[in-house]
Amino acid sequence: MSSLRVRLFATLIGATGALWLIAAAWIYVGARQEVEHVLDTRLQEAARMVASLVASGDMPAKPDAGAPATLPAPGGYERQLSCQIWSLDDRLVARSSGAPDQKLSDRGAGFSERVVNGELWRVYAVEDEAKGIRVLVGDRLGLREKLVADLIKGLLWPAALILPLLGLIIWASVGRGLKPLNRIAHELARRDAEDMSPVDAGAAPSEIRPLTVALNGLFDKVERARRHERDVTAFAAHELRTPLAGLKTQAQIAVAAKEPAIRDRALKQILSAVDRTGRLVSQLLALARLDAEAIRAAPETITLSAAIQDALELSRPAGSARVEVTSDARAATICAPREHLLLMLRNLLENALEHTPPQGVVACRVGSGGTVLDVVDEGPGAPEEELDRLTQRFFRGSAKVATGEGAGLGLAIAAAAADQCGARLVFQNRTDRAGLIARIAFDAGRSAVAARRPEAAA
């Protein structure tokens, strides 16, 4: 049931009805026992009364063999109680009017039940040895049932009449109670897609407040994501338009220049601008692909040395700095989606090589029980306050400012690719000398750097 109102209504009506039925059943059982007890006592008392009447001598002690006498019926309860007086040698001495001729019970003293003339009777018998009689007083069980049934009917009829009325009241009250929810729903329905202002939580009752708070939290998150997206788009536009402007300017110079030297220089600038723009476009595409990749690609087990080799082959040619892989790292294997792993390593290595001076060394090593891979360079490092921002898109550290190279996307791509590998990328400065450490912490559950020595693996 999707409607809260219908659900609440059904629950309340159902619960009320069920409670009523349980109460009726309870009353039925209790009333039945009580009625049985009261009527049994009545039988008992009536039987003793008749027996004592007979004993007091008003009745013939030894009845004649003639027709049995008819006792007067007990007043008021006509035909409810029947009485028979039998001699101990099984002759009907007397019976009340309306009492059946058939013997009500064969038992001696006490209660018994018997079917007489198709009806179930409950009978109490009293024997008087001295007078030689047995007094039987009985009533029909059907009458007892009717009594209890009437009681229950008296209880259920008003309930059946009241229930619809109760239903109306519940329906109206639930509607009233849900009004704040409807108000918020209307407010939300009226909004256009751009409106991310918070829902007024102050007016909402406390039960709805968690919902409004959650909604406002969601709006806030969506708004921030959109702002971030806008920022990134604006940055991308800037980063693409600027090289385009450079290309156009240089092209205009090449067209307008009369001196061959100026023209040649402009054409060379155009070539380098095309290269840089091409690289920027492929970086933006890589980021867009990583962003769009909802399903993680299937991981495979790759040896680190092969991965680094492949990543370096894909990289831009760097200066004379070289990459060194420690022996335990060389034998290590990584379980991660191949394309993403290479993308991450390539961007990290390119960044490290770019910042490492000529003849310097970029080291790849494994640490922390094999779940951490470090790419360590010999560059200038980064100011502490910039370390967290290095993976931000289009962030160019102050070190990059001087060169004017790069769009500030490489490390953002590395971080996004690491995320797809189930790893986290953090940066820290070297403590032993100037340099930056890119630390890839693999999630031990999903991907792992298993540092195995070759002899151990064999």
């Binding site: 800037h238 090289p243 450079g246 307008a256 402009a266």
Partner: protein, 220 residues
């Protein structure tokens, strides 16, 4: 005309330097907010071309600080952010003009000439002194309607003097307009150019004010 270009993209920066140079401007180029502020604090420019998104900050903040400090140098914002709201923000922050990337080099040069002209308090694009006219856009000079052949440097010296309309321009000021930071200044270059100009326009065309500099001769 001396122009400061603030732009962080190396190819575009080079293009602006060479392109505006071809259009007759002397360009100094920097690629960060810090360098731009330092340059503006130490040298006088006829116009500034300012990028908005710079590696160490926002060009708009540089602009606001300059204007807050009373600097009246004409500034053209050159930026990829060219939504209407960005243009409004830029102009309201004190920019004299706004041009979105990518742009046309000739249009940029024309806009720089325009804001520089306005900054110098002139409305006409043509400089005139007696019967000599100078068209900075076309880079042509004429005397009595007849074309006048001037070298690039001669043209720059003459336009500097004619822009001042009788006010004195010191030798250092003229050198500033002739040479960017990287260029070697020849010690007597200004004297040489003035000498050549006098030869073409007549001795009385340019007056030497001893110890102060040069100015265009008084009205004939």
């Amino acid at each position: 005309m001396r122009v400061l270009v603030v732009e962080d993209d190396p190819v575009l920066l080079d293009g602006l330097r060479v392109g505006l140079g071809l259009a007759g401007a002397t360009c100094d180029v920097v690629s960060s907010c810090g360098d731009a502020e330092a340059a503006l604090a130490t040298s006088a420019f006829d116009a500034v071309v300012l990028d908005r998104m710079l590696p160490d900050g926002c060009g708009l903040d540089v602009l606001k600080r300059l204007r807050a400090g009373g600097d009246r140098t004409p500034i053209l914002l050159l930026t990829a952010l060219d939504d209407i709201i960005d243009r409004i923000d830029g102009l309201d922050a004190g920019a004299d003009d706004y041009l979105g990337k990518p742009f046309d080099l000739d249009e940029l040069a024309a806009r720089i000439r325009a804001i520089a002209r306005r900054g110098a308090g002139r409305a006409s694009a043509i400089l005139a002194w007696r019967d000599v006219t100078l068209d900075p856009a076309a880079r042509t000079a004429a005397r009595g309607g007849a074309p006048l052949a001037l070298s690039r440097r001669e043209f720059a010296v003459l336009s500097t003097l004619m822009e001042r309309r009788g006010a004195i321009a010191s030798r250092a000021e003229i050198e500033d307009r002739l040479y960017g930071w990287q260029e070697e200044v020849e010690s007597n270059a200004v004297e040489v150019h003035v000498h050549h100009l006098r030869a073409k326009l007549g001795r009385e065309a340019i007056e030497t004010v001893r110890g102060l500099g040069y100015r265009m001769g008084g009205p004939a």
